[in-house]
Amino acid sequence: MAEARTDRLPVAGQQTAPIRSGRGLLALGIVGLLLIAVGPWVFDTYLLNILIKSFFFAIAAITVDVLWGYTGYLTFGQSAFFGIGAYAAGLVFTHSGFSVSTVLLALGAAVLVTAAVAGLVGWLSFYRGASPFFATVISLVLPIVLTQLLLSGGAWTGSSSGLTGYESFDLSLEAWYWIAGAALVAAGLLAWMVVRSDAGRILAAIRDNESRCSYLGINASLVKIALLVATAVIAGLAGFGYGSFSGVVAPELTGFVLGTELIIWVALGGRGTLWGPLIGAVLINVATAYLSSSMPFAWQLILGVAFVLVIVLLPQGLVPLLLKPLGLGRQASNVPALAERAVSGKPVVSDKPALTMRGVTKRFGSLKVLQGIDLQANAGELLGLIGPNGAGKTTLMRCMSDGADRTSGEVELCGNDIGLLPPDACVRFGLGRKFQNANIFESLTVAECLRIAGTILEKPSLVRCDGILRLPPYALDVVRTTELDRKLNVVARDLSHGEQQALELAMVLALEPRIVLLDEPTAGLTKTERTRIGMVLSSLAHRYGLCCLLVEHDLDFVEEIATRIVVLHQGTIVMEGSFQEVVNSELVKTIYAGSTHTPKETT
């Protein structure tokens, strides 16, 4: 949400971009590999020392980029994991000596402790409704707490002077240089593969719109916690390398100052590019080493000012800007081919109704928005939910799709009581919800949005991009009817309002839901599109046996497709029946004419 960035290429530019940028990246990668290979013969000892350290820091910077640039979680805390790794080496080698078994012990400690701490921090930071600020503040608390603990550790942690002079790997400087370089390349490639893979797009989806993720059955908090643990372990291993190489560990390695520096490197290098932060981290480290002796305060000041300027004026960072002439842009993704996915062959034979609501009430303070709602809907039914504005239609849909929302009453989806479960659990029971306003992933392409919608059915690959996009037949119908299939590579933000609505509908259907909630699905569509969508909707119920609930103001549209009408007025169901019964009833006429108070003659 915060990353309302403007650095996307225009649509037209994406046609030509891939080849050039692919070549540019390749060239850049080869130059980098060459530098790592021939470094020991080119650089002097001092520079080699600096570079080895900066390679380890750059690995941590890459993890920050994955968390912040791709997932939108601004963290000051990666330094803590780096420091834990470094201290694992320092503490074990100081107190238990250096041998094969202690190396394994230190490595194990680095991995386990970082993972455990990251899990705890993730649990504290990511939960439903947690604000992104809160997660960021927690990430600032972590390094501060850790530094305090190290400072109060006395002789065991070496307190403020840290640990030094412990025995470590007996390797030449060249060997360290190659090891650090290889580790950096490996970390960079791993991160690059993951963020470009189908699973990696979920990270961007969470950044864009966490609530939509939840309504696609994705537990965003869990994904973020898992990601934090993985990146923490990688940062911890980098710290382990740093601690083993330098032979010195100090509390500064865990501190928020280093955490801030990591962010500065990523921001200046170009967040969300991976190679930008990598280059940024290495260059700034080298520059700092040479300049901080000649102008110690001024250099920090220049970095700080540059950081503020970049954040305000150039959110995409400096390195991409400098390298733009080389044709390095953001890469366009490949357009996948559409294919039909056979609807999983378990027709609901259960005798349970698709949806049951018993005595559902919703209050905001003393205001009763819904009361005593009893509603049942079966597979194959298409229920039209009508009522004047403020009758509680949208609230009713919310109570069906989020267990925490209703004040009292019971809701069952396909026989499963939803209790207090969050939306992603309701989606797993077979629910799909289309919101009133198009609720999509704005910075992803149409194809990516549709792919993410299928996440709970087809586990996306962590390393590859699938060339085929499989959708159930009815979702495919929507895509073809609205001609979205010609725009698979268009970023969703650039679609028209009607197209966004259609995209969301297709995403909801791609979930293969058993119950579909549709809040004004045709708002913003043209007359012809309406008619076609209407046909798709009625086929959902009649041909595929889904249970559909439709909120709609256009009564003609409702008449054409609905099998049953439910009238909601002032928070209660006042009438149920066929379209003709409802339309001809005096009660409904008075409600819509708006001249009556709460009708007493309710059913």
Partner: protein, 277 residues
């Protein structure tokens, strides 16, 4: 008795330090990460007053004015362009904090400085001698709380501010210049930050990093307390008490971490915050 006075004065200090942050967070929904640097700036305002041999009381208005001016410039140059990107806004204010810190280091050096206290000596309360200046902070904090509550609830500016808090689009539609409200709030919040820095310096020393230890506690208190000044006061009392108790009976190091850790756990268990009960 000493413990009770410790509790009260600690809560008062926490409130004074947090009020400016709260002001900005309440209206603008962003956490001002430059708050630590503003506290430091206020500390150096005291230091300058001491160096110029002026009356120490003068440091209070001096700090307030300096803070408001810095706040105006910052809002105009940095916060306003980033209003649509809140996470970038906090990053930019954090970067700004680094810049202010470096400027202070270049101007005054890294050394720890001491300042004159406007009020020295002790007062005797119920047979206990207690630092007069610490005691003074209690009525100051209460007055500040009443003043800010009055400002937000009793004045035309306050009504506009609350309108912006509740529904910015609607407020703008009704002709309230929400940009102006944000500008005034940010400047005032920044001024309160430097004022707090000045107020706490007689109790400690002045150095370029003096704002940091307060910052995290202040962030967490604001996150936990919700949106009103009285609830912030209550939060400060409760968490301040925990801090004092842990510092006294366990260790000062743990005491320094109490607020952050307790607040994080509180928010995890009760996401809506503490004051919403």
């Amino acid at each position: 008795m000493v413990l009770l006075l410790d509790l009260l004065t600690t809560a008062a200090m926490l409130f004074v330090v947090t009020a400016g942050l709260m002001m900005i967070f309440g209206v603008m929904k962003i956490v001002n990460f430059a708050h630590g640097a503003l506290l430091t700036l206020g500390g150096y305002a005291s230091y300058v007053t001491t160096q110029l041999k002026l009356d120490p009381w003068l440091s209070w208005p001096l700090a307030l004015i300096a803070g408001v001016m810095v706040g105006m410039v910052v809002e105009w140059l940095i916060v306003k362009p980033l209003y649509k990107r809140p996470l970038d806004a906090i990053l930019a204010t954090w970067g700004l904090g680094i810049v202010i810190g470096q400027l202070i280091v270049m101007g005054f050096g890294r050394e720890v400085q001491f300042v004159d206290s406007p009020l020295s000596g002790t007062w005797s309360i119920a047979g206990v001698d207690y630092s007069a200046y610490r005691l003074l902070l209690v009525p100051v904090a209460v007055a500040l709380c009443l003043l800010l509550t009055g400002l937000l609830n009793g004045t035309r500016f306050g009504i506009r501010t609350r309108a912006v808090i509740m529904n910015e689009a609607l407020a703008s539609g009704l002709g309230i210049h929400s940009g102006w409200v944000r500008f005034v709030t940010f400047s005032l919040g920044a001024g309160l930050g430097t004022l707090a820095g000045t107020m706490i310096t007689p109790l400690s020393s002045v150095d370029p990093n003096m704002g940091m230890p307060w910052l995290v506690s202040a962030f967490m208190l604001v996150m936990v307390s919700g949106h009103s000044m009285p609830s912030l006061m209550l939060t400060c009392v409760v968490f301040g008490a925990c801090q004092v108790l842990v510092s006294t009976y366990a260790s000062p190091v743990l005491g320094g971490l109490t607020i952050a850790v307790l607040a994080a756990v509180t928010l995890r268990i009760r996401p809506k915050g503490f004051a919403h009960g």
